[in-house]
Amino acid sequence: MLEARSLTKKYGSHLALDNLNLIIKPGEIFALLGQNGAGKTTTINLFLGFIEPTSGSALINGIAVEEHPQEIKKHLAYIPETVTLYPNLTGLENLQYFSSLAGFNYSKQQLSDLLAHAGLQSQSFDQKLAGYSKGMRQKVGIAIAVAKKAKVLLLDEPTSGLDPKASNEFSEIIRSLAAEGTAILMATHDIFRAREVATSIGIMRQGNLVSTISAQDLSANELEQLYLQTV
């Protein structure tokens, strides 16, 4: 579970995040929408423990991030906007390395299963990442996140730059992870993808969460209109 309690972040006089209160339960997918600089990535970085809050607290499965920055890493996985990884290693080698860092020593078969589960074609497993498309690298990123068996997943613009087919495949995987009880926070610009995959949507403006709605309550057009009116 993810929880933000009056979470605030200031950079000098600039208020990057203002008093965010949020709970994302297991199985929920919360999509944060907003323009650049609205505070989406700041929120993700606060949950990851990469930056410290000015006030308030971020909690992962009830553990305060600021107090236990290493402990919370066991409970979460993260997929950035662009998964570059190591271009001179194969998909399998990348997955093996990152899952080993997290303390999981999988067999080659288990690693192959994880990549297949993330939607990567088996003929790509032993190819170097330098030859992968962005969508394929994103799938390796998903496999790395899944391999951690984390119950919290943080996604920062995960479908940015993906073609529609790859985006669809990505949405499928995210939904299946939520169905397995993972709490997911996803920052995105993609209104239609957010409505399609998320259970709840929050719209941010200048560091404030100004609107929270259920994804099913609005059509895609209504959501777009609301978004444009809000930001």
């Binding site: 290493q70 993260y78 190591y86 080993s100 860092l101």
Partner: protein, 480 residues
Amino acid sequence: MPPQLLIARNFRSNALKNTAVYLLILFIGILITYAVITSWSGFVKQNETTAHHQAETRHDWLDNPDKHPHRMAHYGNFAFRPKAPLSIFDSGMESFFGNTIFLEAHKQNSVNFSEAGFSTGMLRFGEISVAMVLQILLPLLLFFIGFTSIAAERENGTLKIILTQGISWKQLITGKIIGLAQIAMGVFIPVMLVTFVLWFFLQDGHITSDETVRLLLVFLSYGIYLLLFCVIAVLVSAASRTSKSALVSLIGLWLMLTIVLPRASQALGSYLYPAPVKVTFLANIEKDVLKEGDSHNPDDIHYKALKDSLLTTYGVDSTSQLPFNYSGFVMAEGEKISARIYNSHFDKLLRVYDDQNSFLKATAFLDPFVAIKNLSMSLAGTDYRTYTDFQKQAEAYRYAMAQKMNELQIKYISNKKPGPNEKPVVIDQKHWEEVPEFEYVQPMVNTVFEHETTSFFALLFWIGLLYFMIEILSKKLKVN
């Protein structure tokens, strides 16, 4: 496997997939091979030449016929300085020192026949030795490999994923340092093995514990030195936003540590503690000797007083009535005075050099290159102090030889001058054996501890400083 070792393995294998790294390692390997071959052949050649000439001069000395001992004192002898076994590793200042001194009565000659004096092109551009490659070029290679270690992870976004996997900054930094150190050891260990093999065989099995301790200390100090550069490379990379800025910072640092700071410190040391030029040094000695007394001037106050005192003591009217050879006595006195004055000036000169060197050595706390350079030369026996030790031993030998000849003259040469038809006064050639052969004895390794305390402590200081920096940066570093 601990995460640090996983990170180290990953870093090492990624770095070694870069062709440029292989080319650089190959280039360094060629340089080291060249350095090993030239220093090995130089060692063999010089020590063979030294041994040959030493035997020849000894033979010539003993082969002299019956002679007046003072003629033998001027016939003189030679002191040869053999190369130390570890000079194959670090030639230090060796090439700029002479290796032979002509030793004669009344005169302290300078050391001649330096390699630099005879060299053609290469030496003018600085000599290539194994130590020079390890001190200067290997750190550059480590910086070249290490600049991307963390900055590149930051640039391509893998840093966030690594840290999300539960890896702490300290584990990441340590892992990268281990990976870079493994690459460094991949070059360093083979180099030291080759050095060991050459060092072993060049001594014909006569390995002393002193030389062994020196070699082990060379291993240890260079291991620490290279590790320091691995740490510096990784920390600068960790603190840089981009690989490019890390590379620029590291190259700047390398220039500062290996070129600018040592030379600036040396120049400043010489400015703060000026040493007299050779002509002034010699003129000052001559002036002081003349002040004490001129043994060749019959009206000289000192020698006149000495003569009067002798004549009174022995109750005689002239020096020819003394029961010993007066000329020999005067020369022994003159030798004593001139040697004392020379040694006093020489010690004063060495104190100036010590002051200059102390200033330079103190900068080792700012620059680990200065620490390893001084320590390495001292351990290899190719530093200035070892050279002056040779000069001192040669001077002590010269003094003993001259005084021995004076003693023989006092004892065996009559005060009466031979007539025009008489044979010249000589002594038996068997006396020449009474002067032992000169053999240079290198100072023991404990003198290195005495003279290089600053360098040892500077290396320890750097270990502590960088450990502290790892601790601090591990807490302060940011992902973006």
